[in-house]
């Protein structure tokens, strides 16, 4: 029978804030841990008692249904008690800082804080402030580590291994926390990473290991085995990153013509969802047998269970106030 995964020599951490601070060993450990959790989903009772008596608070400053639901189900399948809290980011305007909100939450003695916020670095700030384990569920353009873990899990499930395999990430690289976390994760796991998008959306100072291309066709000649399409925030058009959605789709999107080539080659397609049909991809992609998009959603729960199971609440580091006193 499957119970909980065996304790591993990989030490646990207090927080999961980004992929960058994880070693390849830790990432692999989390992927291994997720596997038995996923097997659990085929059973009639999809629950283990690992986090019984623990409280998980989903603290979402940015609207989200999918990620929040995924964390909620993951926590419940580990028998934790879960509370969801949607906080308006504009509470800052009223003179309440995020740390004030966290202080209020802390009085409720939660063990895990799952945080999503529109500003980069908020989870780091909370982690320093709170004894609860903080899990970054997406912060501004910075990081989305559980997304990268579920993606890595999905790639491994589809292809068996990582080493030397090629992933092409396409779209708005500059503003994407998903692209940041997925590329770092893929690189740590030994994959080659290519990026493609309009030059306006390719960041200055991106890592040296990125392969870059001047056309989608050129990128396909590099023979990627996975194409990871990013969701385009439609408001980028008004900031002049590209002239029109029509042109974006034609030049930088997965058009029907490109998709025919991609499907002939049997290249896997991934997307963090939700998709913009006719912008980053054509409709046909969604019914493609090598589209991993639905698998990503399913694996999200197992990967997040692995993360919750691995982390250990602990002691926060000193705050500004304490530093000033010393």
């Amino acid at each position: 029978m499957i119970t909980e995964p065996n304790p591993s020599p990989v030490h646990s951490r207090k927080d999961l804030l980004d992929i960058e601070s994880l070693s390849a060993e830790e990432i692999n450990h989390l992927l291994e841990t997720a596997k038995p959790f996923k097997e659990l989903f085929t059973r009639s009772v999809k629950k283990v008692p690992a986090l019984r008596g623990k409280t998980v608070l989903n603290l979402f400053f940015e609207p989200s249904t999918r990620t929040r639901a995924s964390f909620e189900i993951a926590a419940k399948r580990l028998s934790a008690d879960v509370t969801n809290l949607a906080v308006s980011q504009s509470s800052v305007v009223k003179g309440e800082s995020v740390l004030d909100t966290v202080d209020t939450m802390q009085s409720m003695k939660v063990d895990y804080l799952v945080v999503r916020h529109g500003a980069a670095g908020i989870p780091n700030q909370i982690a320093k402030h709170s004894p609860a384990s903080v899990i970054n569920a997406g912060d501004g353009n910075h990081a989305h580590p559980t997304q990268a873990l579920l993606d890595a899990f999905t790639i491994k499930e589809a292809m068996g291994d990582f080493s030397g395999r090629k992933i092409l990430i396409a779209g708005d690289i500059l503003h994407s926390r998903v692209a940041r976390s997925v590329s770092i994760c893929a690189n740590k796991l030994g994959m080659e990473v290519g990026i493609f998008g309009p030059p306006t959306l390719i960041p200055h100072g991106h890592p040296d290991y990125f392969h870059t291309f001047n056309s989608f066709e050129h990128a396909l000649e590099w023979e990627p085995e996975v194409i990871y399409l990013l969701r385009l925030q439609l408001e980028r058009q008004s900031a002049h990153f590209f002239p029109s959605l029509r042109e974006y789709h034609q030049v930088f999107g997965m058009t029907r013509e490109r998709f025919e080539l991609v499907s002939r080659k049997g290249i896997y397609i991934m997307h963090p969802g939700p998709v913009n049909r006719g912008v980053e991809l054509t409709d046909e992609v969604l019914t493609y047998d090598r589209s991993l998009i639905n698998r990503q959603v399913e694996n999200g729960i197992a990967a997040r269970m692995a993360v919750l199971y691995w982390l250990q609440p602990g002691i926060p580091s000193p705050t500004i106030e304490e530093k000033a006193e010393t």
Binding site: H117, A119, A120, Q125, P203, K323, A324
Partner: protein
């Protein structure tokens, strides 16, 4: 207390002419004037003798870029707390920036700041005035009034004068008053929304970037306009190697340009912003380590005229916001000298002459003020610095009303032990032994 003569014995006197301080005694008479500077001044019974062996005497520093926040944001700083922070850090004169609320854009406002300073400050507080009314960049502020009331510089610091036509006219008009125009260089359309230097680190942290070209294009524009207007111009807080190269070119062409660098642009780079530390967020932002190197070279070469802090106090609440939302700026008055000592002088990267010239002599010369040299006949305006001391930068040390400094909680080398201005001792940490070196009868060692 009755004024008395003070004899500073065996001091190492730093000047703008020698990298290493030279030992001498300094006698300050009862009227606060330096009576004698020579190797061995015999003490007498009517003198208070201070043992300054192993201490450094240097002219009081002058910081020509300070945000005092009064009026408007007295929760961040006041003229009183700001000048106390300056004294604490060895700075004996400051120039206030006009971006208060309301801004210092009229003779009346200049008069207010000067009057407040006379009442509340032990050191000279000069003020600048705005180039444009309300710092709005739309029309020129009344310069004659501000000048009459004592404004010594005009600047819209905090933002550039975006309209090149208006800036050209301001430069031309300033010539009539021989007042220096200082420029905060930035192209707002390029920097808008940015939180830190654009580059590998901003990508890593997922923060919106401010490209170096935003500052450099503006420096180029402003110097070309100053050249065209034949006006004096001062470029504030330069942060990039290319910006410095542009200044070099215009200096070589004979444009009357001076420029300043802050301690933080010399000592920190964007690589230091590891964990969204808002105490490393300022405008212009911290740039690359290569820029640090170029600025340090420029300082040693004399291409950079002035060190100034851009002291910018902010409340704890504001600096505890997320990095992108928190305001730009860090404090500098309390820590500028000890941080430069710790990271540059102590490591032999700059000499004491460079520090004295760039942080005491040149700012006073540019603003046409009396020098503060430690020479016979001038009014005493110097500090006693202990190079072997340590300063723990914590709440009890910091005299600014705000604590937004990257040094918070850290220990720095050196200690400002004493500040002497005329007959007054504005700061005395008790570092100098008061008892004479010799027996009370005046016998020699």
């Amino acid at each position: 207390m009755k004024p008395m003569r003070r004899l500073f014995k065996q001091a190492n006197i730093a000047s703008q002419d020698n990298p290493m301080p030279a030992i001498a005694d300094v006698l300050v008479d009862e009227s606060g004037v330096i009576r004698d500077v020579s190797p061995d001044i015999p003490p007498s019974t009517d003198m208070k003798v201070l043992d300054c062996s192993n201490k450094i005497l240097l002219p009081g520093l002058f910081d020509m870029h300070v945000h005092l926040r009064e009026p408007g944001r007295e929760d961040k700083e006041t003229i009183e707390t700001g000048t106390n922070a300056a004294i604490n850090g060895g700075i004996s004169g400051i120039l206030a920036m006009p971006n208060t609320d309301p801004p210092i854009d009229s003779g009346g406002m200049v008069r207010f700041v000067r009057a407040m300073a006379r009442d509340r400050s032990g050191i000279p507080v000069l003020t600048s005035g705005c180039i444009t009314k309300g710092r709005a960049g739309k029309s020129l502020a009344d310069l004659a009034d501000m000048h009459t009331q004592g404004a010594v510089m005009i600047t819209d610091d905090g933002s550039p004068v975006a309209d090149p036509y208006l800036f050209r006219r301001a430069l031309e008009y300033s010539r009539h008053f021989d007042i220096i125009v200082a420029s905060h260089c930035e192209v707002p359309e390029l920097s808008r929304g940015g939180a830190m230097n654009e580059g590998a680190q901003s990508y890593r942290l997922g923060l919106p970037g401010i490209p170096a070209c935003s500052e450099e294009i503006s420096i180029e524009r402003d110097l070309r306009l100053a050249q065209c207007a034949d006006a004096r111009i001062h470029i504030q807080h330069i942060s990039t190697a290319r910006g410095l190269a542009i200044i070099r070119r215009f200096k070589e062409e004979g444009v009357r340009v001076t420029c300043e660098v802050t301690p933080h642009h010399l000592l920190f780079s964007d690589n230091d912003i590891q964990d969204y530390n808002t105490h490393l967020k300022m405008n212009p932002p911290l740039r690359s380590p290569e820029d640090n190197k170029a600025l340090l070279d420029g300082l040693n070469e004399g291409l950079i005229d002035v060190i100034a802090t851009d002291h910018a106090p902010h409340t704890r609440f504001e600096k505890e916001l997320d990095f992108a939302s928190s305001p730009f700026g860090i404090t500098g008055l309390d820590t500028a000298l000890i941080s430069l000592f710790t990271h540059l002088i102590n490591k032999g990267l700059i000499g004491w002459d460079c520090l004295v010239r760039r942080f005491a002599s040149e700012p006073r010369r540019i603003l046409q003020l009396e020098p503060a040299d430690i020479v016979t006949g001038s009014t005493a305006d110097f500090i006693v610095f202990d190079p072997n001391g340590r300063t723990h930068v914590n709440n009890s040390f910091i005299k600014s009303k705000s604590i937004n400094t990257p040094y918070l909680g850290l220990e720095l080398c050196g200690s400002v032990d004493m500040m002497v201005r005329g007959t007054e001792i504005l700061l005395d940490r008790g570092g100098c032994r008061n008892e004479p070196l010799f027996s009370s009868k005046g016998g020699m060692e």
